[in-house]
């Protein structure tokens, strides 16, 4: 046998993604991959918050269920409401935006 007989033209020398999508279309692949990437970022954040809570508790700064039992003061509750609404509007609304003009943008937080 000679080495050339299987010198394969398909050899992925630079680790390209195959042309054929994994799901039904390349667009769907891209969406699924970015959603997976978001999930990984979400996990990294959750992991970090858990570690932080643990360290703060160990250091005596937090009581074990201080975060769960925390009663939000009005100003903080309002701030969280506002930021959550904005997050939802930006992310859920991303595909539904009808207007892109200066006035609307100026009104946006």
């Amino acid at each position: 046998m000679t080495e050339d007989s299987t010198k394969s033209s398909e050899t992925s020398q630079h680790a390209q993604r195959p042309d054929k999508p994994y799901l039904s279309t390349p667009e769907l692949d891209a969406l699924a991959l970015s959603q997976t990437e978001l999930l990984s970022e979400l996990w990294i954040l959750r992991d970090r918050v858990t570690v932080l809570e643990h360290l703060l508790t160990e250091a005596g700064v937090l009581k074990p269920d201080a975060v769960d039992n925390f009663e939000l003061p009005t100003d903080l509750a309002e701030r969280l409401d506002r930021e959550r609404d904005q997050l939802v509007a930006r992310i859920v609304g991303a595909g539904h935006r009808k207007k892109l003009d200066l006035d609307t943008l100026k009104e946006q937080p």
């Binding site: 046998m1 000679t2 080495e3 007989s5 299987t6 010198k7 394969s8 398909e10 050899t11 992925s12 020398q13 630079h14 680790a15 993604r17 195959p18 994994y22 799901l23 039904s24 692949d29 699924a32 991959l33 997976t36 999930l39 990984s40 996990w43 990294i44 992991d47 970090r48 570690v51």
Partner: protein, 360 residues
């Protein structure tokens, strides 16, 4: 020495995603396949060996059926995602602590150290040159902190959980190597050679069963051998490593009584595989044994598993996986002159798949 929280948690996420995709999704995909009209016929067909063209045809037919399953398509998307992100998370994590990891990075020993024979003039074979194996950016020799990337990065957090290529979720990678080493018939090997020894982990484990044996390894990659020597320093297990092609080793005729080959042959074109076997036959003394572990050939598995193995070729930068799945190692060993040749799986999953024989 650890990577930071971001890298650790990111890698752990990949481990979990791989486990989910290789259990729940894979099981669903397998059930989808089993329910197809074509499954019984294909399953029967896969039980007999065939020539290369027939295998390629069979694989194409089976792939068409297996890929109808949405669970399978997502399973493969996640496999690919994890295969790429392994490098992204591990390399960026090591880079954020470059200074710390660089201090302990393996470096080549002084020239003339009898434990490591580097050969800067070694010509890399055409089949090997430039391949970014397993999608590793820059290939095996491309990244100076590859030991940290592997041992503080993807090995503990992703690989150790299994669920990729032929490795099932929950497989114990170390124990599998030990089990393969148990396949030598002799209890008293004196000199063992490992072609494509990588970081010399398998040689290190040979020490447990053969405490007296001299351990010699060869690999094309200088970087993995340098890492391998560092590993030997750390474990205190002496090895002698050669940068060489397993088809043309520095070992004399009949100079070893054992050859262990682990996860090498699926990275070789069939004719190279054949020549490696011939070379191992040459360096073995009469009565010496060779034990090989690699992913199973297509004829040993059903159509579903064969489609998954074949997928590695195009999707995990494993250019010879398909050819290796068709190649018959046991038959090649017999042709070369090995006797008592046997092949069998060590687990129900057909992995590790062992092929072994003896020089008469």
């Amino acid at each position: 020495m650890n990577v930071d929280q971001r890298a650790r948690a990111g890698l752990q996420f990949l481990g979990s995603l791989q486990v989910f995709s290789s259990t729940e999704l894979q099981q669903q995909a397998e059930e989808d396949f089993a329910e197809s009209d074509e499954a019984p016929g294909l399953t029967q067909e896969f039980q007999t060996d065939a020539d290369r063209d027939a295998w390629l045809e069979r694989l194409a037919q089976a792939r068409e059926v297996v890929e109808r399953s949405p669970a399978f398509r997502f399973n493969r998307l996640y496999q690919r995602y994890v295969a790429e992100e392994n490098w992204v998370r591990a390399i960026t994590g090591v880079e954020r602590r470059r200074e710390m990891f660089a201090k302990v990075a393996p470096t080549p020993p002084p020239k003339g150290d009898p434990r490591l024979h580097l050969n800067p003039d070694l010509e890399m074979p055409e089949y090997y040159q430039g391949v970014e194996w397993h999608l590793q950016p820059g290939g095996l020799d491309g990244y100076d902190l590859s030991a940290a990337m592997a041992f503080s990065g993807f090995i503990p957090y992703v690989f150790a959980r299994g669920g990729f290529a032929a490795v099932a979720v929950g497989d114990n990678l170390l124990q599998q190597r030990r089990d393969v080493i148990q396949q030598f018939r002799s209890d008293s090997l004196k000199r063992i050679y490992d072609p494509g020894c990588g970081g010399s982990g398998t040689l290190g484990l040979c020490r447990e069963r053969f405490p007296e044996a001299e351990l010699i390894g060869g690999d094309l990659s200088a970087q993995v051998l340098i890492n391998g020597l560092k590993f030997s320093d750390k474990t205190g297990i002496p090895v002698e490593l050669w940068q060489e092609d397993a088809r043309h080793t520095a070992q004399a005729d009949g100079s070893v009584d054992g050859v262990i080959s682990y996860a090498l042959h699926h990275e070789l074109p069939p004719e190279v595989s054949f020549d490696v076997l011939k070379e191992m036959f040459r360096i073995l003394e009469p009565g010496g044994e060779m034990v090989i572990s690699d992913p199973p050939p297509f004829r040993a598995v059903g159509p579903f598993q064969a489609v998954m193995l074949d997928w590695e070729t195009e999707n995990r930068s494993e250019p010879y996986f398909t050819e290796a799945g068709i190649f018959n190692l046991a038959q090649a060993m017999s042709e070369i002159g090995f006797v008592d040749v046997e092949e069998y799986p060590l687990q129900e999953t057909c992995y590790p798949w062992v092929t072994r024989g003896r020089k008469p």
